[in-house]
């Protein structure tokens, strides 16, 4: 990394697509993957004479997100037009919010300092706006193809304070933000599908200097790690500039993931004059306090709170809690299993082990996982009370995934219930000793280390049903 003589100062603008059935200002579907321009109407095609009408659910989700991020909701916010020409912006302006946003002044805790105090990133504002359509540049030579299915889909823009001092902190902020929004269930927050997008403002300054340096805006990053890499690259570039006596010029840069470099975009800054003014087709958004209070009461338990509770309630170490609570659905599944089985540790082992492995192999979501928490809890219980062996348990689980039947039934059907009864075990032992005369002779002659081998043969013969403890006892008695 470049000379530590400079401090990195970063603020992030995050756009998040809200989970609504229809668009922000018209009744068109927000579904992905429809044929081009099928989810359009006079409003989102910007046909002459069409007018916007605001989607109530989009407002609800924006309020929930703002409250979840600790923002203050303004009872009166105003929509504004952001004017610029682009072929996937049908009206020639984007309906957004400008000087009177929906919410301001939140924050996100991205970890603890070594002194144990919270590391907080401030959130300047959160506002509602509409998305643009898609421009496809590589489909036809010399031409651009426009699909307006996404045009008008509701977004929230979350603007952070310039509180971020390192690329890793930027990554931590984004991961925390994504997790909170997942818990709030306001968005799919998938960078791959474009339901979460990040732009970064970055400047550098000598440590101790309070005045901010000239910032550049970095765009076009398609993953959190790309954001971290882009920030490092731009930090290095700016430091080098200053070291060589040059100065940073305000501009927009594009991250080139392939070359792992930033390059200036060719639009002149001067041409960015958005001529914001209040949207005359919409009255102000007025939120009655009852609505906001109701939304506040309806907020789910957020990641931080859940981590603390899970740690104490199930007595698990921090690392394991982190893994379990990464995704709210996974955490929910774990908690159901742990409660029903009364065993957090075992629940953790199964969920993070077999369950995750199976899901990964099948590329499935936990929400649709065939083995319901109650069934997994039953499996844990019958292992604990010795009804089946640990070895058998894995097979039972595999069959539960396959058949969807409860653990006990699978164990019974497959005859995997452990056999503790002396005579049965004695028979197996006799047979084994008969089939392996050489080992038998040496063992009975006192070669005790062969006991393990013989137990193995017995377990194999019993298809894992024999209780290993009993087998050992019996062999010892014979050998003794």
């Amino acid at each position: 990394m470049s000379s530590g003589r400079y401090e990195m100062v970063v603020g992030l603008e995050v756009h998040v697509q809200l989970k609504t059935r229809t668009k922000a200002f018209c009744g068109c579907s927000t579904d992905f993957g429809a044929p081009p321009n099928l989810n359009t109407c006079p409003v989102c095609l910007a046909l002459p004479g069409a007018l916007p009408v605001l989607n109530e659910h989009a407002v609800e989700l924006a309020i929930r997100a703002a409250l979840g991020l600790g923002c203050r909701i303004d009872p009166v916010s105003v929509f504004a037009r952001k004017n610029y020409f682009y072929p996937d912006l049908p009206k020639g302006y984007q309906i957004s919010q400008f000087d009177q946003p929906l919410a301001v002044g939140g924050s996100v805790v991205i970890g603890q300092s070594d002194k144990g105090t919270d590391l907080r990133i401030g959130i300047t504002r959160l506002h509602l706006e509409e998305d643009a359509g898609k421009s496809i540049h590589d489909r036809y030579p010399g031409e651009t193809a426009i699909d307006l299915n996404r045009a008008g889909v509701p977004l929230i823009e979350i603007v952070s304070e310039p509180d971020i001092r390192a690329s890793a902190a930027a990554g931590a902020y984004l991961r925390t933000l994504k997790q909170i929004l997942q818990y709030l269930d306001v968005s799919d927050v998938s960078m791959e599908e474009g339901s979460l997008r990040v732009d970064a403002n970055i400047s550098v300054r000598p440590p101790g200097q309070t005045k901010l340096g000239t910032k550049t805006e970095v765009k076009n990053m398609n993953s959190f790690s790309a954001v971290e890499k882009a920030l490092e690259a731009e930090y290095t570039r700016q430091c080098a500039l200053l070291d060589s006596g040059g100065k940073v010029e305000q501009q927009t840069l594009l991250w080139d993931g392939a070359k792992e470099t930033v390059r200036p975009s060719r639009t002149k800054e001067g041409s960015h004059d958005y001529r914001y003014f209040p949207e005359p087709d919409l009255r102000p958004l007025m939120l009655d306090t009852k609505w906001v209070d109701h939304a506040r009461k309806g907020l789910p338990e957020l990641p931080a709170a859940r981590k603390t509770r899970v740690a104490t309630e199930y007595g698990l170490p921090a690392v394991e809690v982190e893994q379990l609570t990464a995704d709210p659905a996974l955490a929910g599944y774990f908690e159901e299993v742990a409660r029903a089985a009364g065993d957090g540790k075992a629940a953790y082992n199964w969920v993070m082990g077999e369950v995750q492995a199976t899901l990964r192999a099948a590329g499935e979501q936990i929400a649709h996982f065939r083995v319901r928490p109650a069934d997994l809890a039953q499996l844990i219980t019958i292992v604990r009370d010795g009804t089946i062996s640990h070895t058998a348990a894995k097979r039972v689980f595999a069959l539960m995934v396959e058949t969807g039947k409860p653990a006990a039934q699978v164990a019974a059907d497959e005859g995997l219930v452990q056999v503790g009864d002396e005579s049965a075990i004695a028979t197996w032992v006799d047979e084994v000793l008969g089939e392996h005369p050489e080992e038998a002779a040496r063992y009975l002659a006192g070669e005790k280390k062969l006991q393990g081998v013989l137990v193995g043969f017995v377990m194999k013969k019993s298809k894992g049903r024999a209780d290993p403890k009993r087998v050992n006892q019996l062999l010892s008695s014979r050998g003794g």
């Binding site: 006079p42 095609l45 910007a46 046909l47 002459p48 004479g49 069409a50 007018l51 916007p52 009408v53 605001l54 037009r81 004017n83 020409f85 072929p87 049908p90 009206k91 020639g92 302006y93 651009t144 426009i146 004059d273 001529r275 003014f277 005359p280 087709d281 919409l282 009255r283």
Partner: protein, 518 residues
């Protein structure tokens, strides 16, 4: 009812005749087109029509016939032919806003106001000529040539709803839809000697009205008489869930205002419903001589300046005398900030227009001119060839006042002064004035080509633009002639008090009688 005097028939008479089975909608539509031919509505003469399809209109009229037989209640406008300004979206006929950039464009959806006219039994016969995107006061700014004034073909009909005003003045249809941003219905109504109404902002849905300046735009109606206008307006008014700025305030039966009584108790009509067949069609009796007893009419000195054409002043005073003789009190009032209205308007309207007209970019519909030098060249070629000089001028003006460094000095300042202008009206109506009376325009219709300076043209709106800025309703009614050209008198009332506006207008019309056109 005979159609020999079709050009003199009122909308209510026609609807009554249709309901009584004395005539058929199809015959009425044919009569309308016959009149259009006689008077020369085509491009080679008055140039009133931009789009018309007689066969289609007659066919539509014939489809109404069975409905008439089945029920006596097929709408207050049963079989009434109407013309529609070309910036209001209609199915079937194109919607071009008098612009090359929308040449041949047919809207896949219909404006709420047009749908409500149809649901009330009206039949659309034509889309009318207008100043391009409603930017103008003479209809000379149409990409398809100017419309001529039926009362004097050397003169303009006013604008921007010049085609609709001319259609009514020429007796082609008893009512027409126009649109207002700064006087575009009232001024041509005055120039053509017909009645023109600009309702309260939010009274009529803007859904389907191609936006010029959204915070000022409002669909208005033109009629040969006050009664035609009242019938037309009540059939298109009311809340529309497709227009977030439309109001859910009750819509009284405006024609009852003809009885000279105060507004009836507000009922609770389903504001979503199109009020088919509401209001009794038989004509209300004309108001008697004393029907303005207790009514206070304000005469704002700012609207009667020294510079006002003395002949127009004289005609206005005659109208004020009629008010007095009908028992009204005429009170001198002041609207001190009104003289600032033109500067305010010509900042705010172009600002909104510069944004509203950005959608005409050649990407999805309308004209596209592609020099083959990339996207930006396509935008610039399309828009510079598609828009006429006045539209270009206003887009640039609006872009300028919104651009970095000028926003506060122009746009923000104008918005604040707009508040002051509206406050003046609130104060006057709060002081017990029921209606304000002014001349509609400072001059009568002027010869085609007479005004070339843009700002001089803007001054045509000097008495009308304040009602748009304040959002209050206003009507222009014929009050006489000067040098054989019509003069309009304007009646302005408080927000959503169209009923009082019509009451005073009905009375003035009756009080002036034949003098209104002398």
């Amino acid at each position: 009812m005979s159609l020999d005097n079709y050009a003199q028939l009122g909308a209510a008479q026609i609807a009554a005749g249709v309901r009584a089975g004395e005539t058929s909608p199809a015959d009425i539509v044919r009569a309308s087109f016959k009149r259009a031919d006689e008077i020369g509505a085509g491009p080679d003469a008055l140039n009133i029509f931009l789009h018309a399809d007689e066969k289609a209109s007659v066919a539509e009229a014939e489809q109404m016939q069975p409905r008439i037989r089945k029920t006596a209640d097929i709408g207050v406008l049963a079989g009434v032919p109407v013309t529609i300004k070309d910036n209001i979206a209609s199915l079937g006929l194109p919607t071009t806003c008098g612009s090359k950039i929308l040449g041949g464009y047919v809207s896949p959806f219909e404006a709420t106001a047009v749908a409500r006219l149809r649901a009330n039994g009206a039949i659309i016969v034509a889309k009318t000529n207008m100043d391009e995107f409603a930017m103008g006061s003479s209809t000379e700014n149409s990409a398809f040539g100017p419309t001529r004034n039926p009362l004097d073909v050397r003169c303009v009909p006013g604008g921007s709803s010049g085609g609709s005003a001319a259609a009514v003045a020429a007796g082609i249809t008893p009512i027409a839809l126009g649109s207002e941003t700064g006087g575009s219905v009232r001024q041509p109504a005055a120039f053509c000697g017909v009645v023109g109404v600009k309702p309260t902002y939010g009274r009529v849905s803007r859904y389907g009205l191609v936006a010029f300046a959204s915070s000022l735009d409002q669909i208005g109606v033109l009629g040969r008489t006050v009664d035609d206008a009242a019938l037309a307006l009540e059939s298109i008014s009311g809340f529309d869930k497709m227009d977030s700025t439309s109001s859910d305030a009750d819509v009284p039966i405006y024609r009852l205002a003809a009885l000279g009584k105060p507004a009836p108790e507000a009922r609770n009509p389903d504001t979503e419903a199109i009020r088919i067949g509401r209001s009794p069609v038989p004509l209300p009796p004309p108001p008697g001589p004393t029907t303005l007893e207790g009514v206070v009419i304000g005469r704002p000195r700012e609207y009667f300046p020294e510079s006002l054409d003395p002949e127009i002043g004289r005609v206005c005073e005659r109208a004020l005398d009629r008010f007095r003789s009908m028992g009204a009190t005429v009170r001198d009032i002041s609207l001190p900030r009104s003289p600032l209205a033109i500067p305010v308007y010509y900042i705010l309207a172009p600002a909104e227009a510069s944004s509203n007209l950005a959608r005409f970019d050649g990407v999805r519909y309308g004209l596209r001119v592609d020099p083959g030098k990339g996207l930006k060249a396509m935008y610039e070629a399309t828009r510079s060839e598609g828009f006429g000089p006045e539209v270009t001028r206003r887009i640039l003006l609006g872009t300028y006042v919104l651009s970095a460094g000028y926003y506060d000095a122009y746009y923000k300042k104008a918005q604040a002064v707009r508040t002051l202008i509206a406050d003046d009206f609130r104060a006057v109506f709060a002081s017990g004035v029921h209606a304000i009376f002014t001349p509609t325009t400072p001059t009568t219709a002027f010869p085609i080509g007479a005004i070339s300076d843009p700002y001089e043209m803007y001054l045509n709106d000097i008495f009308t633009v304040t009602a748009n800025l304040a959002g209050v309703p206003a009507i222009s009614v014929p009050i006489g002639r000067v040098r054989r050209l019509p003069v309009g008198g304007q009646i302005i009332t408080a927000h959503f008090d169209e009923y009082a506006m019509f009451r005073v207008a009905y009375a003035l019309e009756a009080g002036l009688g034949a003098e209104a056109h002398q």
